[in-house]
């Protein structure tokens, strides 16, 4: 597959990656290190919580989405990182055994004013579970080197 440059990304393009199954072990491992709250660690405690059962940390869902974005596009691109995330919505809990799909849409592309070698891409990622229910939605901008600058 040929390397994806800024010029290869255009508004309206939709890509889908996955499914990727999220295991109980990795939910607990991520939470133990980064988000040790009972609803991410322990089944019984999680049942008492508002989430009603063990669920992945929202930050874990972000990290899983990032890995799927890397494998699906970024690692085969001229990605130069991201200045940040405009908005993230955690819409439903991600449970052990859920199989996640990422639906990626290019919202907008524009040249960088300050850096002629770089283009800015506005992305939307929707993360869906095996029932097609959206569990997370995110909009963000990232940078890619232009082919013309290569």
């Amino acid at each position: 597959m040929s390397l994806i440059y800024f010029e290869d990304l255009a508004a309206g393009q939709v890509r889908e990656w996955g499914p990727r199954t999220v295991t109980r072990e990795e939910i607990v491992a991520f939470a133990s290190e980064f988000d040790p709250q009972p609803m991410h660690l322990d089944e019984d405690a999680a049942k008492q919580s508002i989430l009603g059962g063990l669920a992945a940390s929202g930050w874990h869902t972000c990290a899983i989405m990032m890995r799927m974005f890397c494998d699906g596009l970024l690692l085969n691109s001229t990605s130069q990182g991201s200045p940040g995330i405009d908005e993230t919505l955690w819409k439903k809990p991600v449970r052990p055994g859920d199989a996640l799909t990422v639906r990626h849409t290019v919202l907008e592309t524009r040249a960088s004013k300050s850096r002629p070698d770089i283009g800015l891409v506005r992305h939307q990622c929707e993360v869906l579970n095996q029932r097609g229910e959206p569990v997370m939605e995110m909009r963000f901008t990232s940078m890619f080197t232009k082919r013309s600058a290569a």
Partner: protein, 158 residues
């Protein structure tokens, strides 16, 4: 956590510090963000970043750990004083997350929080919604990370 009623806009606290080692930067990246500038010193030198730096999601995850630990400490202090800590609910998401500068291997990041907004929840009576700005500064006092988090917190009057 304090009850919604007792939290004032402008309340600031230091959550904690974390040293990002090259080893843990690569370990996180190998699982969740294996771009070359998070995985390999030499490749990172050739990139825009100029040196090995943490995945932005690694910085975000460590900040969450600081938030959780600090909230637990606050709860323990309240229990010690004979007070009942308020429950805090799941978060519906966050806004305006900014990776302002790279977090390089060896950097020490200090995380702080400041309450920027509070309102009663319309969907969940007995709960309030708090918006907090979380910030990370490196050892030179330069802001490297920021986001606005939203969380449900129990009201005293509930």
């Amino acid at each position: 956590m304090f009850f919604f009623d007792d939290i004032e806009v402008g309340w600031r606290r230091e959550l904690g510090k974390h040293v990002f080692t090259a080893e843990e930067i690569k370990r996180f990246a190998s699982r969740y963000d294996p771009q070359r500038f998070h995985m390999d010193e030499e490749a990172a030198k050739q990139s825009n970043f100029g040196a090995l730096c943490a995945s932005g999601w690694h910085t975000a995850a460590v900040c969450m750990r600081m938030i959780v630990d600090s909230t637990k400490r606050l709860g323990a202090e309240m229990i010690e004083r004979g007070e009942k800590p308020a429950r805090s609910g799941p978060s519906p998401g966050f806004n305006d997350l900014k990776w302002l500068k790279p977090v390089y291997a060896g950097d020490t990041i200090t995380f702080t929080s400041e309450v920027v907004e509070k309102r009663a929840s319309e969907s969940r009576p007995g709960w309030g919604v708090i918006k907090t700005r979380f910030t990370g500064h490196n050892q030179n006092g330069v802001p490297v990370y920021q986001f606005d988090g939203i969380v449900f917190i129990e009201r005293r009057s509930a």
